[in-house]
């Protein structure tokens, strides 16, 4: 079946620094979503992309359907950015999202 490989599985960042999370897809996807699961267990929508890039504050995401990947860039990390980040993608053949296994981000002072 469709697979989403998310990396890294875990990441520690010092406050003020940045990094990138990545999801690779085994097939052509038509859209991708990025979420953060916060300390209370709620899923926060970050981005939905059908193509190109989007930016919101210190977060920026890109999606390349042809090259089969999506990225989430975090800059100037803050303590409240800690949590588990998931990508999810839906392919052109059906309407089911497939999720990556998540990236556990810890921002340290």
């Amino acid at each position: 079946g469709d697979q989403v490989e998310q990396s890294p599985s875990a990441l520690s960042l010092h406050e003020g620094t940045g990094s990138a999370l990545r999801c690779n897809f085994t097939t052509t996807m038509r859209a991708v979503q990025w979420f953060r699961k916060n300390s209370r267990g709620s899923l926060i929508n970050l981005f939905y992309l059908a193509s190109g890039t989007k930016e919101n504050g210190r977060l920026k995401s890109a999606f390349d359907s042809k090259e089969r990947y999506s990225t989430l860039h975090i800059r100037d990390a803050q303590l409240e950015d800690s949590g588990t980040y998931f990508c999810a993608a839906v392919n052109t053949g059906n309407y089911k999202y497939v999720f990556g296994a998540g990236t556990r981000l810890k921002v340290i002072a």
Partner: protein
Amino acid sequence: EAAVTQSPRNKVTVTGGNVTLSCRQTNSHNYMYWYRQDTGHGLRLIHYSYGAGNLQIGDVPDGYKATRTTQEDFFLLLELASPSQTSLYFCASSDGTGGAEQFFGPGTRLTVL
């Protein structure tokens, strides 16, 4: 006001118990989904629906039933709960033809003893 709500937020039951998880959305979306999320895994799709009375099988359906009674309401039923069904359950909705942006409820933590 939250557009996707779930109840209960927490539930403890025993092996063999009967559990119903409820989800309501006020987004006027056609699609609704039930997922489970376990440590070290992404969300896995249990069942989904594209309208009242419709049910589609997801990727991990064994041990679960679901029913979509109205456009707003989607229920997940565990008729003989097992410890392997201890998990965090999320409901989501999306509009249009599916594959559109999903909006999630706050989750239900289920523990089966």
